[in-house]
Symmetry: C2
């Protein structure tokens, strides 16, 4: 089973690495790191990730994963990406995104009429693509799974691992990555975070502190 993970400049690494770490452990899965132009892509924090494969060489992956990040705005208007997604989606078993990656799926027309999620500050933007935004962490609509911001891709990965290989495999992977979250604060959603944190991002309309 081939999973194509789209890489691009100014993406957010954890968006991709969360589900990558889970799904890459599912027996029989092969991960492909793809981009419009193969080569090194620099994340929003300057880390170089190697896109080894052109999207043209993986036209029909079983699963597509689109991460988000500040660079998503360029990807969303790149017809080469959108054409690839539309074609791939015809035959995928699962089409997935994390964070603002769902806006790329939306721009490709894949979320039309579906409930979907994204980074909390970007939820309303989903409407422009005909999707119905919802502040859930993982949203499954047929074969389309969208996950909320950044770290939610780990939860999405475990959900999808269970679909692919059963609950026992997903639970074994959860132990394998020791995913027993114990955040020192409880500020991970706009509903739970202190007002100063919510206001910080709303005032800036971006999700980096820098």
């Amino acid at each position: 089973m081939d999973i194509a993970i789209l890489l691009y400049d100014r993406m957010t690494a954890l968006d991709a690495i969360g589900p990558y770490e889970v799904l890459g452990r599912v027996p029989g899965v092969e991960l492909a790191y793809v981009a419009v132009e193969p080569g090194v892509k620099r994340t929003d924090q300057g880390l170089g990730l190697c896109a080894d494969t052109s999207i043209d060489d993986v036209p029909r992956p079983d699963i597509v994963l689109v991460p988000g990040g500040p660079g998503e705005e360029d990807v969303r208007t790149d017809e080469r990406v959108l054409d690839w997604l539309r074609t791939a989606h015809e035959t995928t078993t699962w089409t997935t995104s994390v964070c603002t990656g769902s806006l790329v799926l939306g721009a490709a027309g894949i979320l039309q009429g579906l409930r979907a999620t994204t980074y909390w500050l970007a939820l309303e933007t989903l409407r422009t693509f005909g999707a119905e935004p919802t502040l859930e962490r993982v949203v499954e609509q047929g074969k389309v799974i969208t996950a909320a911001g950044v770290s939610s891709g780990i939860d999405m990965g475990l959900t999808l691992a269970a679909r692919l290989a059963g609950d026992e495999v997903a639970q074994t992977i959860q132990l394998g990555i020791e995913y027993d979250p114990q955040p020192p604060f409880d500020a991970g959603s706009p509903a739970k975070a202190p007002a100063f944190a919510v206001d910080f991002f709303k005032d800036r309309n971006r999700f980096s502190l820098r």
Copy 2:
């Protein structure tokens, strides 16, 4: 504030990317991706990560982060790494690890007499380095912080972010990465996981399913 993140072949990506995603958002932090030999390092799932900088060029980082993964066994016996860690540790404000990265700190003599944690299957190995193993998720001993397996680095990152910049910044980052974990199962520690999952890893004495 410079944070040197050690990269090496067959490391586990999420070990590094969890705290990277948190700590890179702390105002004033500069991340350096370092290795004995700069270049592309391939994770245990084949993803290429760019180590842009030689450890020799960052002899005195403010913070050191050592991730774990199957390749750790080679790193633990590489005197160039151990010498670098020993020298850096003399002047760091924080010396940190995730997963089996703590075994590298241990081999450098940094954990002697300290409580420390690591991937759950590797806990007893910590004793060989004079450390006292404990099955906690994040263990702070003076300026040394060790975290448990793979995903625990996110919790460690938030703990350290609060130390570096205060609770409000850490909470704002938590919202920024939407870290409101909702795993679909509760199998993320040996105490919580079903017996079949624990036995799976114990029988193989490794933490990949593949």
